[in-house]
């Protein structure tokens, strides 16, 4: 009788152990899944942040790339990418600059004073440097929230054309499908 009770308790313990193992493995799987998901989101976030900022600024420059219209200037110590556009004989400026942890943009008449805090926040960044490396070359360097740094050069086609050299073609990127 005693032996039978002992045998029963061992069997119960074994089943309890199996259930415990089941619970532990479930928990481990959830933890692994969470980490994998976090990694994927982290990679995708940083990728999207860099892509969207660089593409936005590059498209802005290309859109406003008429002779002498795009330049980088330092106003009140802040490096500002200035894109000039004329509407009805009045000159307007799109100003893109980094101020207090964010990339800002403002569209104002050219004669307006520069108040960096009045700009519209485009995106939060750790740092951003906009420099003019040559008459026809602008460089944007971004430091993302996760510390990653990425840089991109933008060639000004209009300046290239006005100086007598023909512009190049960059169309038709062929990306290997994943």
């Amino acid at each position: 009788m005693r032996q039978r009770t002992q045998h029963n308790s061992i069997g119960g313990l074994f089943m309890f152990g199996l259930l415990g193992l089941f619970a532990l493995l479930s928990l481990a799987l959830v933890v692994i899944g969470t980490q994998a998901y976090q990694n994927v989101v982290h990679i995708s976030d940083s990728n999207n942040q860099a892509q969207s900022v660089l593409s936005y600024v590059a498209n802005k420059v290309r859109f406003g790339d008429t002779a002498g219209a795009a330049s980088v200037d330092r106003i009140d110590g802040v490096p500002v990418l200035i894109l000039e556009q004329a509407f009805d004989d009045e000159l307007f400026e799109t100003r893109i600059y980094f101020f207090e942890g964010g990339l800002m943009e403002q569209f104002v008449p050219a004669e307006d004073e520069f108040f960096p805090e009045d700009g519209e926040l485009l995106v939060h960044l750790s740092a951003c440097a906009i420099t003019q490396e040559a008459d026809n070359l602008i460089k944007i360097t971004l430091t993302l929230d996760n510390g990653e740094t990425c840089a991109m050069h933008i060639a000004l086609r209009s300046d290239t054309l006005s100086s007598g050299r023909e512009g190049g073609s960059l169309c038709g990127v062929n990306i290997q499908p994943c």
Binding site: I43, A50, L54, C150
Partner: protein, 136 residues
């Protein structure tokens, strides 16, 4: 009593087996998802890297081959210019010269990026530039 125990035990063992199989599939899925996101990041990095070089080549006062050579690119035996970007990417610039009607030179070429584990290029970016006679 004994029969009840063994039924429960069998049920738990079947559940564990099913769980193990599901875990294997799930872990493989996580790994595949992670790898896909890394591939996606590499692709966009490659695109920006190629665009960056192409933009600099277009803005430079030199012809594209001369610009690349003056910026650390190495010419291989078959005339291809090659550059190692970080540990992961290799850039290659292949080009052909043709005489334009106006006396200038047309550089028709492409920038391709090669990832270490793939045989085919990750991307190819056409880079064509015309230089007038006086600019060369």
């Amino acid at each position: 009593m004994r029969s009840k125990h063994s039924t429960l035990l069998t049920e738990i063992i079947i559940a564990l087996l099913f769980f193990s199989l599901s875990s294997i599939i799930m872990v493989q899925l996580f790994a595949a998802g992670y790898e896909k996101s890394l591939d996606s990041k590499l692709s966009s990095q490659a695109l920006y890297c190629a665009q960056d070089w192409a933009e600099q080549a277009i803005a430079a006062p030199l012809s594209p081959p001369d610009f690349f050579k003056s910026n650390g690119w190495v010419e291989t035996e078959d005339g291809v210019l090659s550059y190692q970007h970080g540990d992961t990417l290799t850039l290659e610039y292949t080009f052909q010269l043709s005489q334009g009607n106006g006396g200038g030179v047309l550089y028709t070429g492409s920038l391709s990026l090669q990832a270490p584990r793939d045989d085919a290029p990750l991307l190819t970016l056409p880079l064509t530039q015309y230089r007038r006679e006086g600019d060369l």
